[in-house]
Amino acid sequence: MSARAGSAVGLAIALAVWSLLPGGGVAPVAAQGVPVGTAQNAVGTLVVVRTDGIEHRLQGRGALTLFEGDVLRTEAGSQALIQLRPGIPVALNERTTLKILSRWEKAGTMRILRVSRGGVWAKAGDGARQLEIETPAAVAVARDAEIDLKVTDAGQSALTVVQGTVELGTPFGVCSVRAGTASVGARGTACTAPQPANATAAVSWKQAVTQ
């Protein structure tokens, strides 16, 4: 093997090893200005507040682009449906406020919704379609799962799992919540032991906006 060929092989091996590294080398921290999804439907009004304070409103069907840092808000009588990239549908019930965030890690970026009040339905997949939902008292980690999460003004967070298994974590412990069960995370307490729940009834509110 010639020296040149040897160098080429060495370079190829180095590139192959580099490509196998988590994150494949340099990866950017959450980039502002990169679209992360779209708001597709609103029953009533969905208010989207950008990081610079500019407000947009969606009423009925549409395709309002969403960005990292956006705050989404529905008031009484309003619901909304958004689609996060690369394919995570999320519905907002009335009186819901959430912020779109992410966590960058070398292994990849996790999409995060920070819900301060209200209720959301979401259907997460695996890989980049995973979703974490943060509340003032807990975090729900959804992977290949369909969930409903209700957050009171005091931050109490009630998770019902429709499909799959979801981790509900609080500062005091983690619960594994399976399909057809529900668990609650509240300030200053561990999540409650999952109990059987009527998952179909829990998500019936979303029918009007997801049709």
């Binding site: 950017p28 921290v29 959450a30 965030l101 992410s102 966590r103 960058w104 890690e105 070398k106 995060i112 920070r114 974490e132 943060e134 509340t135 003032p136 008292a137 807990a138 975090v139 980690v141 931050g155 974590g169 609080t170 500062p171 995370g185 300030r187 200053g188």
Partner: protein
């Protein structure tokens, strides 16, 4: 007997290569067992980076990109493997692997993430977000945010009691230190302390020490009574506090006083607070940290962009180390 052919040569090569790797790993294992070296970490707010300095030779080892903006405060894990850095402008916490010397995660905490402190068991990082008036609770293994605690206006300082039962949060807007029950996550009490309270730290006797950066004094809170039990004027814009000994004398509190360009040395007995000495340092001192033995102080200066190493025995500067722009915080981890 089989003759040697190409695949066998390849296998032999792989075996030799693997043995080399094993030998290398064994050597690495021996080196790791020797333990990590002492390190000094400096947060450079205007460089968005952390300077890593050898704690014995005082040479710069590396500069780590925080992958965020306005790197402000630091907390190092007890084993020294993890460093967490707040980033004011990004509202994010950087998780830095101190062996690889690189940022491996960026966690969205809240608006104007100001200070970070690890719980006593190091399982959680608590981050004070000035813009949101909240504390974010971050799981240090998964980097997930497990919850938030609403606090008073402009939380700027954060520390825990010795037993971990209470967290103390200084609030610039309310001019208080709030006491949080770490079991119920509720604010138990707000202690009035003075103008623009800022930095908080656990003292060597278990009391909580704080600076009123908008004023001229420092104060002491006793966790047994949750009351302010002492205060002393040290000069304009006191910033941060470390502790050490001067020979037999001590423990002493060493306070960076930005308005004097000095470190003011105060007896650490809250029943008899008095100024013992003043040490001239660089331009606008802010962060200060001590080594484990309390014989060395590490002081960073916002205006001169450097770190000074001070021998507490002689109160003299042993070394001046250039760091990044606008260094705010320095933490030490011993070997």
């Amino acid at each position: 007997m089989r003759g040697i052919h190409m695949p066998d040569l390849k296998q032999a090569g792989i075996i030799v290569f693997s043995l080399g790797l094993i030998a290398g790993c064994a050597e690495m294992q021996v080196k790791e067992e020797e333990g990590p070296r002492a390190r000094v970490f400096v947060a450079n707010e205007s460089s968005n980076s952390v300077t890593v300095v050898d704690g014995d030779s005082f040479q710069v080892v590396a500069t780590v990109d925080a992958r965020n903006h306005a790197t402000h405060d630091l907390a190092v894990s007890r084993d020294g493997r993890w460093l967490f850095a707040t980033n004011l402008a990004s509202g994010r916490l950087s998780a830095i692997n101190t062996r690889a010397l690189e940022t491996v995660a960026s966690i969205a905490t809240g608006d104007r993430a100001h200070v970070v402190t690890l719980t006593n068991d190091n399982r959680q990082a608590w981050v004070a977000n000035i813009g949101d008036n909240t504390i974010s609770i971050v799981d240090t293994s998964t980097f997930r945010i497990l919850g938030t605690i609403a606090v008073g206006k402009g939380p700027t300082g954060l520390t825990f009691s010795r037993d971990g039962r209470f967290a103390y949060v200084s609030t610039q807007g309310d001019k208080t230190v709030e006491v949080i029950d770490t079991v119920s996550h509720r604010v138990l009490k707000a202690i009035p302390v003075g103008t623009n309270p800022h930095f908080l730290v656990l003292g060597p006797d278990g009391r909580i020490w704080g600076t009123n950066t908008g004023g001229t004094d420092i104060y002491v809170i006793d966790p047994a009574t949750q009351d302010k039990v002492g205060a002393i004027n040290v000069g304009p814009a006191p910033q941060q506090i470390a502790f050490g000994f001067k020979g037999l004398q001590g423990p002493n509190a060493y306070v960076t006083v930005a308005g004097l360009n000095r470190v003011v040395v105060v007896s650490a007995d809250p029943t008899n607070l008095r100024i013992l000495e003043q040490i001239d340092v660089g331009q606008r001192p802010n962060g200060i940290s001590n080594n484990r033995e309390g014989t060395r102080l590490f002081v960073v200066h916002e205006n001169s962009n450097d770190l000074k190493v001070i021998d507490t025995g002689s109160s003299s500067v042993l070394a001046t180390v250039p760091v990044g722009r606008k260094p705010i915080r320095v933490v030490y981890h011993g070997s």
